[in-house]
Amino acid sequence: MTMIDQRPDRAGVAPARRRVTPPGGRLHTTPPWWFAAPAMVLFAFVVLLPSARGVYYAFTDWDGLNPVYSLVGLDNFTAMVRDPDAVQAIWHTLLIAVAITIIQNGLGLVLALGVNSTIKSRNVLRVFLFAPAVVTPIVTAYLWRNLLGPDGAVNSLLGAVGLASWQQDWLGDPGLALWSIVGVIVWQFAGYSMVIFLAGLQSVPKEIYEAADIDGAGPVRRFWSVIRPLLAPAFTINLMLSIIGGIKLFDQVYALTGGGPGHATDTLSTLIYKDAFTLGEFGYSIALAVVLTIIVAIASTGQYVVLSRNERAAS
């Protein structure tokens, strides 16, 4: 880039806009800035400006319809701290995000190692295990709502294999419903994690496996000391995707339990929706969205810092 600035005829000559290739040098022209304009206009209109207005509304008592509203300072946020539903929803959101991140990626990694072997069904399995990840989440959630019902297929299956004592009201039991939701999400997206890990595994050169074999490393040692560090970029992507997806979770909760029983499975997103559209408390609802934003921001920057340090350490 510096070549352009070092054109020998710069001083004294009128700043001609002619493109001159310096002898022996290379010309780099920069594409004009207005190429970015259409994307920026759309992005500003849909994301930036409404988000900024959202932050403002979080400090008002706006109901979403009435053009008259007033600034109420931190009232929405202090009300949140005193609102057991909101505190619970924040806790559920964090719990779901952490649970999904650990279980989905743990399972995804095991599946990836299984499919990255010499088994004959590996290609079919890869395609099949990933398939749930492309299906509409709201649709799979409705499917599971029936399967997990008291007379649903899961209980029928448990009965049929002699585990009748394990039968549960999976979505109706307040202590269990949250974990059932986690289970449904893991079922759907473990194949997604698998595909990302698999791409990482397949980028490990064969020679590295051979070298580890020759050095007498067992399967566990080979995984921990040789493969795991090389999977660092795949870990970064997978953990990012699952933790942010978990924090924003809405569809599955809406379809499986609607946040119930009671408020046992409400997350920040379902509460935002309910407060805005069934209770008409837009100001309060947007204050919840601001909290959601802060959690996402902390989680993603924190994760980015830790994981990119690991990536650097691994490479």
Partner: protein
């Protein structure tokens, strides 16, 4: 190096077992969708006299044909717009080193962190004022902006790893920057375009929250909202609901199995982007 041994066979059986567990819900889905409502035997027992009545009934009563068409239009138009504006924007953002370029890029990256729940409610008001609520245009506009940060991020990463020699040659040969982009740069972006296409199409097609907000109460629904409405209406008739779920899944899985290699590579492609 690694041969097929007894242990490999054990692993093979184990993995097939896992696949059966993963496939079990899909078996029940189809099994109940072809079952007459009068048949009340266990949901895991194969249906003895399968029928397609549920499908015709669900198709007609759920207005699923219209919803399918809406989903196709919204997804296709939004994805084309997002890919066009994002690749176009990524070009100067990846190449220019001026301060404005870095500033703009950081601003766009901010969009990766902002959850759409924050923008969705104020935007709801704007859409209402513009008279777009209840029309597919609200969704197309929304996705065209919402997907810009992620798509631009993919393109910028790819472009930075791409040598500049080709575009330089094109410019020296007298191309305008626009022509250089159209005929030289964009064709070289094909691998990342496939990735961005797959990821955007899946997330737009599957989105439920946005159409729930912006299309609620209107006759124009996308597939996920139409399904949710259908479940609400026929919640006691699960055979009918399951037929509707199958109808909504079949187009997705058909595309997936037909293009599985590109789609899986598309999802995994984010890794290199």
């Amino acid at each position: 190096m690694r041969r097929y041994r007894g242990r490999t066979f054990g692993l093979e059986l184990l993995m097939i077992g896992v696949a059966l567990v993963v496939g079990f819900p899909l078996y029940v889905l189809v099994n109940l969708a072809v079952r007459a409502p009068s048949d009340t035997s266990s949901p895991i027992r194969p249906t003895t006299s399968p029928t397609l009545d549920n499908f015709t009934q669900a198709w007609q009563q759920g207005a699923l044909g219209g919803a399918l068409l809406n989903s196709v239009v919204v997804t296709a138009v939004s994805v084309v717009i997002v890919l066009a504006v994002s690749s176009f924007a990524a070009y100067p953002l990846a190449r220019a080193t001026a301060r404005w370029s870095r500033g703009l890029f950081l601003l766009i990256m901010l969009g990766l962190v902002l959850p759409f729940q924050l923008a969705a409610l104020p935007l709801y008001q704007t859409m209402r004022d513009l008279g777009l609520l209840g029309t597919p245009w609200a969704l197309i506009l929304f996705y065209s902006g919402l997907q810009v940060p992620f798509t631009t991020f993919l393109y910028v990463g790819f472009l930075r790893a791409l040598p500049r020699d080709f575009e330089d040659a094109a410019l020296i040969d007298g191309c305008t920057p626009t022509q250089g982009f159209r005929y030289v740069v964009f064709p070289m972006l094909k691998p990342i375009t496939v990735t961005a296409l797959v990821l955007n199409a899946v997330s737009v097609w599957n989105d439920f929250f946005t159409p729930l907000l912006y299309l609620s109460g209107s006759a124009q629904q996308t597939m996920p909202v139409a399904i949710a409405g259908f479940v609400g209406q026929y919640v006691t008739d699960w055979n009918l609901v399951f037929a509707a779920l199958v109808i909504s899944i079949v187009p997705i899985l058909a595309v997936y199995f037909a293009l599985q290699r590109s789609i899986i590579n598309g999802f995994a492609g984010g890794l290199k982007g």
